[in-house]
């Protein structure tokens, strides 16, 4: 099995789609010669040419909006928004236009658009270059939202996002670009809306997304050494959410921790906690614990940044908290 980094896995999915299908093209800021600010699209200009690997001006509304227009005409563009903070600029087009064309037209149109973006703290990017905004878009009917955490997952899910006929906001995480793993020789598409159980356990279910999947796995290993058996579930797709896998897990373990790098309050974890509370009410031995960033913009100084953002230790503490409350 070949070994691919998360970054290479994204590139692989994009490239394979573009090789197979003329309708697929990519556009974004600095994605051509530079190969993207995260190096994701490196080499693609050489392979596919400037018509299909299009640099855009710093113009997020037109960037995403143009992709929407091309998608409405039957193409499958993938627009890259350099930092997910800049999704806020393109939000009007994503939320008011892409998400709603099909519905407002009474089903006459499809918008098979993928918007790729990335975010994540840990390297002092400052408050405007590190947000995790997946919850905003999971709130919009008409969109799909994906956040993959491993190379295999990101490759298979990006492929499915490209070929989904609906607008997909596809989140990547900056600090995950370098992680490597063995991936199948052939690209295996992963269905949207299916969670993945990374680790089986009996005492606590940790539902984690993005970078926190890895933190959760680390916390689970630590917990094991202390006699606590932790199950780690990665939803992978936030919208539509695989509620069944999550709820079945909590019914088994009777305790739930939700973890994401985004700010805890009003984060996606709140939705998961509500779903779990409602569907597994009689199975809970403790309230659902949430792990996320503290309620501040991201500070610059490293000591402060690390304080604000959650780590494996926070997940472990939450796990222990749920155990202490058990019947």
């Amino acid at each position: 099995m070949p070994e691919l980094s998360y970054r290479e896995a994204v590139r692989d999915a994009l490239s394979r789609a573009m090789r197979e299908d003329e309708n697929v093209f990519i556009m974004g800021e600095d994605i051509a010669e530079m190969g993207g600010s995260m190096g994701v699209t490196q080499g693609m200009l050489d392979e596919f040419g400037a018509e299909r690997v299009r640099n855009t001006p710093i113009s997020e509304m037109a960037l995403v909006g143009t992709a929407i227009g091309a998608a409405m005409q039957g193409m499958r563009p993938i627009a890259e928004v350099m930092y997910e903070d800049f999704l806020t600029l393109a939000a009007e087009q994503i939320v008011n236009q892409a998400a709603k064309h099909r519905y407002m037209s009474g089903g006459q149109l499809k918008v098979p658009l993928t918007v790729r973006t990335q975010g994540g703290a840990g390297w002092s990017p400052g408050a405007q270059h590190a947000q995790q905004l997946e919850a905003w878009f999971a709130h919009i009917p008409g969109l799909k939202v994906v956040f993959a955490s491993t190379p295999t997952d990101v490759r298979g899910l990006l492929w499915s996002a490209i070929y989904d006929d609906n607008p997909v906001v596809f989140f990547e995480h900056r600090t995950l670009y370098g992680i490597k793993e063995d991936v199948p020789e052939q690209l295996e598409p992963i269905e949207l809306g299916k969670a993945r159980v990374h680790r089986q356990g009996n005492d606590v279910t940790v539902v984690a997304i993005g970078r926190l999947v890895h933190e959760a796995i680390a916390a689970a290993e630590q917990a094991e050494a202390e006699g606590i058996s932790v199950e780690v579930v990665d939803p992978r797709t936030l919208l539509p959410l695989d509620e069944d896998t999550i709820v079945d897990s909590v019914k088994k373990t009777n305790r739930c921790v939700v973890a994401h790098e985004a700010v805890t309050r009003m984060g996606f974890g709140a939705e998961i906690a509500a779903v779990v509370q409602h569907q597994a009410f009689d199975y809970l031995d403790a309230p659902v614990e949430r792990v996320g960033a503290k309620f501040t913009p991201l500070p610059f100084a490293p000591v402060m940044e690390e304080y604000v953002v959650p780590h494996a230790a926070d997940v472990l503490a939450a796990v222990k908290q749920t155990m202490a409350r058990g019947d």
């Binding site: 299909r52 227009g69 091309a70 039957g74 037209s105 009474g106």
Partner: protein
């Protein structure tokens, strides 16, 4: 509503055809005002009374395969692009037979089969997609053009600037029709535009600009043909600036307290595009009355059709969300 066969030469017959279309739009909009006041039409309504020549002049110049995207003031464009008044009225009444099947309403009129990619309630919201459609046509080597309608007020918003910029940068076959009626809702040009000649906004992006008198359907038509040729031949997008007049309020029922009292009566006298074309064609009274009767009949029939239409079931709200 016959398609225009000849290019360039505008026969009397063609102009009469344009006249019928403009008159239909006028009577339709008047009926809409009336039904709105009767409490039958929910939501927003913005009628295009006074701007019929722009809608007809531009849309009639288009080829099969060209697409349009409109604004909140979309009824005229929608009818001129080929949607039957029945389907438009049914949409305003929220019926399944409406062109957007009751899901959109006045500001979200779509008729994809006829090349209408949708009206937009967000000012300037539809322009980026027009740049995108034009990009798709170019990438696929199709001789099609994407057309955006927008007003003078919209030329202040980010999406318009970004769309013009990118469209010109990538030389896509797009036509940007600026319906300059001097008003952004209740704000006159003097309070929102730091320049007077809006075509300069296009020039700022290096884009070709064409001007026309928006109340003269012939001029609009010719200017559009010229612009379309430019775009179709791969020379890039064109900004078509048309001066026109809104002979009503911003919305149906708008008391227009912000408008000088004498302006409207004066404009109705001098700038009504239908009166102008009627004079240009030297239509006899009885001929006009015949055409007017026909227009009224079509419009009345559309109301009948709409009222007899099928209401969506409440649960239909859950459909059409995902493909």
């Amino acid at each position: 509503m016959a398609k225009v066969e000849q290019r360039g030469a505008l026969s009397e017959e063609t102009l009469r055809d344009f006249f019928r279309e403009m008159l239909l739009i006028r009577r339709f909009e008047e009926k809409v005002e009336e039904r709105f006041r009767a409490g039958e039409l929910p939501g927003f309504l913005h009628v295009a009374i006074g701007q019929e020549a722009v809608a007809v002049g531009v849309c009639r110049a288009l080829d099969e395969g060209d697409v349009i995207a409109s604004t909140h003031r979309a009824h005229g464009h929608t009818l001129a692009k080929g949607t039957h008044p029945n389907e438009l009225m049914a949409e305003l009444y929220g019926k399944l037979e409406g062109c957007s099947h009751g899901y959109g309403g006045s500001m979200h009129l779509y008729d994809v089969e006829r090349g209408n990619m949708g009206a937009n309630a967000v000012v300037g919201g539809g322009l980026p997609a027009v740049t995108g459609a034009a990009l798709a046509f170019k990438l696929r080597d199709e001789p099609r053009v994407a057309v955006a309608f927008f007003g003078d007020g919209a030329t202040n918003i980010g999406t318009v600037h970004e769309s013009l910029n990118l469209a010109q940068l990538w030389r896509v076959p797009a036509l940007f029709v600026c319906e300059d009626n001097g008003w952004a809702e209740s704000t006159p040009a003097s309070q929102q535009l730091p320049i007077e000649d809006l075509s300069k906004r296009a020039e700022a992006y290096g884009m070709r600009a064409v001007k026309a008198d928006g109340q003269d359907v012939e001029e609009v038509y010719r200017a559009t043909l010229e612009a379309l040729a430019h775009a179709r031949e791969g020379h890039g997008p064109v900004f078509l600036h048309v001066r026109t007049y809104r002979l009503t309020g911003h919305y149906v029922g708008d008391p227009q307290v912000y408008r000088p009292k004498d302006e409207l009566p004066r404009l109705r006298e001098t700038e009504d595009p239908i009166t102008k074309l009627r004079d240009r064609l030297e239509l006899a009274d009885d001929e006009f009355e015949q055409m007017d009767r026909e227009a009224h009949e079509l419009v009345e029939a559309s109301v009948e059709f709409a009222k007899a239409g099928t209401d969506p079931k409440p649960e239909d709200a859950l459909k059409n969300l995902y493909a």
